[in-house]
């Protein structure tokens, strides 16, 4: 009898738990999802015609090629239940427009049904586009056009104004590397090689010099493949790791100093620090309504 009630209790508890879980998932999904960052212009409301989209895309791409700064445009129907500032912060934290440590990205966010827009300015452009100027672009250039339903014109004018402001800012020149498809990341290459030395040292103790180096070479090749998603890069990493281990690592004197350090730990510590992957944002910019 009591065992039965206990089982029943557990059953209801389980049901309750599942309900809470479902509710939590539902709540989490209530926030508007962030679309993937594929192009400069993302229109989820079909406000802009294909031609207008292409024109804007071309303008922003050309500007990125010339100056390096990235201006992204996102048009969503609504940002509710969040305020436009909160949603826009989530978008830039996910998209990270702008270059690494230059932080020269701008997000132009339009919530059409909320009749609200926001210019979110990256750290590196807060000097070129201070809040007051962003506010003027919103209030004096863009919203008057939006009020009359001229969305494309308003966006073009706003983008032109932003481009004009950023042009005057001394920024590092755009690098050819950035625009090409596969990026060579020197940091991860070096840290992979250091990792290989450490692993190699361990494996060589167990397996002997040649086999140990071979295993490390193959392993690093696989990791490199995942890292760079290119077979050629993986092969380079594998050969480099093999050679390095065979000839360099065989000398046990390397670690005699005792300053041994896990390379991936140092890497993780660095990655946590603020700005993140590419463009960093701190909430600068201005919002407006029409």
């Amino acid at each position: 009898m009591s065992a039965n009630t206990a089982r029943l209790q557990r059953f209801w508890l389980g049901i309750g738990f599942v309900c809470v879980l479902l509710l939590a998932i539902a709540c989490a999904q209530a926030e508007i999802a962030i679309p993937p960052f594929k192009k400069h212009v993302t229109d989820l409301t079909a406000t802009l015609s294909a031609q207008e989209l292409a024109q804007l895309e071309q303008k922003l791409t050309a500007f990125e090629k010339a100056k390096g700064s990235q201006i992204a445009l996102l048009i969503v129907p609504t940002t509710r239940p969040e305020a436009i500032e909160q949603y826009s912060m989530r978008v830039v934290e996910s998209w990270k427009p702008g270059r690494k440590s230059v932080d020269d990205g701008i997000l132009l966010l339009i919530a059409k049904d909320d009749r609200a827009l926001r210019i979110e300015v990256g750290y590196g452009l807060e000097g070129a586009v201070p809040d007051a100027k962003a506010k003027r672009i919103v209030a004096e250039i863009m919203t008057p056009q939006f009020k009359q339903g001229h969305f494309a014109a308003g966006i073009h004018a706003g983008a032109d104004a932003l481009i004009g402001l950023i042009k005057g800012e001394p920024l590092p020149l755009p690098s050819a590397k950035h625009s090409s498809g596969s990026r060579f990341d020197a940091d991860s290459f070096v840290s992979l090689l250091v990792l290989s030395l450490v692993l190699g040292r361990m494996l060589q103790v167990f397996l002997g010099r040649l086999i140990g180096s071979g295993v490390v070479g193959i392993g690093l090749g696989l990791i490199g493949w995942m890292f760079f998603s290119s077979v050629a890069m993986a092969a380079v990493v594998a050969v480099a790791a093999f050679v390095l281990n065979l000839f360099l690592n065989a000398n046990p004197g390397i670690y005699r100093g005792g300053h041994h350090r896990w390379p991936d730990q140092g890497y993780r510590g660095g990655g946590l620090g603020g700005g993140g992957g590419f463009g960093g944002f701190g909430g600068g910019g201005a919002s407006g309504r029409w």
Partner: protein
């Protein structure tokens, strides 16, 4: 013999990594950095205020009470030393937070009053200042949010196994986070006055 030593060293090093010591260090540094950003943005707001008050004075000098409220709130904020060590003292942290909350309240009253002065509202200088203030408030919100996240990460590490053992060993304690800044102001309904004889209760 030497290879055995190396293995021992490697195993030990990986154990240090595994017991959460490095995570504690990293999250602790992250808290410090995000707290510095919070202070930075509060400072930025405080720096805007003299200019704002002067501009408003030019058009609405008769609003003495509101202007004085902002000045006093700013003085109170300035009276609390905004040192980074604040995050290790929950009491001082609460005091600081309270003072900043009062300043937020005084500022929003000032902006609300400014709505009654069309000349002030259309003044370019005032509009720029208002945009800057809005931007700064938003930056404060972002910085606070990031601080809350950093504290959460750190506190989780300090309180969960095996980080709690490491934290105990090295004397790391949980850190205070932000609560709602102006509880009193939120619990009292704002007075809405459209200038029409409409009861504006709740």
């Amino acid at each position: 013999m030497r290879s055995a030593l190396i293995i021992v060293v490697i195993v030990f090093a990986s154990m240090i990594g595994g017991c959460g010591y490095n995570t504690l260090q990293a999250t602790d540094e992250q808290i410090k950095a995000s707290w510095a950003e919070v202070l930075n943005q509060y400072k930025r707001r405080a720096d805007l205020i003299p200019n704002l008050i002067n501009t408003v004075k030019g058009f609405a000098a008769q609003e003495k009470e509101v202007l004085l409220g902002v000045t006093n709130a700013r003085a109170r904020v300035g009276g609390i030393q905004a040192i980074p060590e604040l995050i290790n003292d929950p009491e001082a942290f609460a005091k600081f937070q309270n003072a900043q909350g009062q300043l937020s309240g005084a500022l929003s009253r000032l902006l609300a009053v400014a709505e009654n002065y069309p000349e002030l509202k259309s003044n370019a200088n005032f509009r720029d200042l208002q945009a800057q203030l809005e931007g700064t408030e938003n930056r404060i919100a972002v910085a606070r949010n990031r601080y809350i996240k950093a504290v959460q990460e750190y506190n989780t590490e300090v309180r969960s196994f095996p980080g709690n053992l490491t934290a105990m060993l090295f004397g790391y304690q949980t850190k205070p986070s932000f609560t709602v800044e102006n509880e009193q102001e939120i619990s009292t309904a704002p007075k809405v006055d459209f200038g029409a004889p409409v009861p504006a209760e709740n």
